[in-house]
Symmetry: C2
Subunit: 338 residues, 2 copies
Amino acid sequence: MKRAGLPRLVDVAEAAGVSLASASRAISGGSGISPDVAAHVRRVAQQLGYEPNMHARGLAGGLVPTIGLVVHEIGDPYFADIASGVIRSASLEGRSVQIAQAERTPENELAQVQALLRQRIGAIIIAGSGYADTTREATMAETLAEFTLGGGRAAVIGRHHLPVDSVLPDNHGAGVTMGRHLAELGHRRVGVVAGPLDLNTVADRVAGLRAGLSDAGATLTVVSHPFTREGGIAGARDLLDQDVTAIVGLNDAMAIGILGELRNNRIRVPEDMSVVGFDDIAVAADVAPALTTARIPMFEMGRHAVALILRPPIDEPRTIATTHELIVRASSGPPPAS
Amino acid sequence: MKRAGLPRLVDVAEAAGVSLASASRAISGGSGISPDVAAHVRRVAQQLGYEPNMHARGLAGGLVPTIGLVVHEIGDPYFADIASGVIRSASLEGRSVQIAQAERTPENELAQVQALLRQRIGAIIIAGSGYADTTREATMAETLAEFTLGGGRAAVIGRHHLPVDSVLPDNHGAGVTMGRHLAELGHRRVGVVAGPLDLNTVADRVAGLRAGLSDAGATLTVVSHPFTREGGIAGARDLLDQDVTAIVGLNDAMAIGILGELRNNRIRVPEDMSVVGFDDIAVAADVAPALTTARIPMFEMGRHAVALILRPPIDEPRTIATTHELIVRASSGPPPAS
DNA sequence: AGCGCTTACGAAAGCGCTTCCGCTACGATG
DNA sequence: CATCGTAGCGGAAGCGCTTTCGTAAGCGCT
């Protein structure tokens, strides 16, 4: 197949009456070129409909403008929303996005990041909670540091302790808000079905909850299960023996699982038991009963991450903190009178 | 940054005692090389931990093994599930996946495909219904034909009439099954909230429904709205005046919207009105009431599509037809006695 | 044994770009 | 006015791979 037509950088250079080297500097924003010439070259390139060849660029040592996105599992609405935000923003900037799934294991996450870097990808976004496991986090930090040193841009969503720009959901604050909400309703014995305890997200939300609850002298019982609907079901079973009046799912998927398990046990929500979640995924409003949850702006977080990556780096890593919002629906209410 | 360590193809060639050319042929499966030598080279490459450089490959005129995936909107659970299947399978084969969103417009879809091709991507999967708009489909067909002629592999999920391998959900069959289900329950006046009527998926499902319904002499009222939860809400409003006893959402998102709108109008489901959907997205089981739906195996469709593009092409496009399954939950029942 | 044919392999020419290096021309400096 | 430093630009060397093209070796045939 002859891709005859596509203009190359030489064509642009020729048309603009400059050397190939200057044209390259003009297009890819290198230094050592006068603004006038650069502008002229860019105009000519525009006219010719020039599109840089990714592969040539990658080969020649430059970084490719593709954005790599690592999520745990794209089928999870939390990550799907983030991905949607990332792709939307990237697409507006003419950047393409490569997605890799870490399948919720840290080894895989690291492997996926390294695979992305081997492709000389210019920017990488890692979404999802970090792990408390410090040796693994250290390796990741090292990998990313080397990458950014080499001119790569990196950002993380929802994890701290990594030396790159980050978008941080207000997990602790959301926990506090939710804890207060339950305490205000009158709950004094609360259970939480947490995800794996070595996840930062889990630790932060639980700590927030505990803080919000303890002001009112309420107790928190923690059980840990996978961060999924099934995990929620298992957790609900654990907590059913525990004499609590409210169960918190640490994300909406878990909360939905909890709702299902309670329904199976003919326990009414919220009359007999309150159930709340985190995130406010799209369906939270549609389950039965509609779920009270702490909204985390996933889509916007994705967009923020792209914005960070497109901005030139500064010495200190930047952090964008996002807000949370308590969405009170039908699944939370006062504890039973008894 | 010195990426000193990474072995190159020359290194492999040298270590194996063959020429660069032979090594290339051995690795990228070219012809004109004896099986023995090829096997030997591959073994050496393996030992050295050789990883081909995408960009060099792309530059030299080959196609890059990356898989491009075009979906309408990754935030939609239907596409998220497909994407998850695609990424999972691709990852097992060591292929990376680039995702582009068409944002539900045909122009965008075509533009995204062309952007992908410009990157010399070796394989492309287009997910989502095709459009009845024939001129646009013709352009797409032409683009893909040229691509496959140049050695690219393409597959589509859920659309016909394109001259490439395809994975086809049983939309018509699912419609028939659902129509029969409602007819058997006793419904005689059924409404359907359809997506845009120029989508193949919509046409097929509606036709199936009508067929399944008409056997029992039932009538079908069609209204059309965007293929989203909000579209479902709007459609439900339309149909409320229409004296129907069951409303079909053409996908689960719409059905969930319908459920919400009926709840707002204090119409009980399924006592006063049955509601059913299509797809069986993860949350369909958790909404109130749990949604009766026709299950389409999205995740598996994604995997099938990857399998198709990894298989060498044959003259005739292949088709993998998938099954559907009626999942009866709580949202469908007999029509009110009146 | 000699002929042409096929097949396995090596040498070398790029693919389109970035970047190092060197040159020129200018303004600043003493 | 002579000298040095610097900014702007062009020449040219690769980046790692695929792919002609050419050659040598192996085959069956007359």
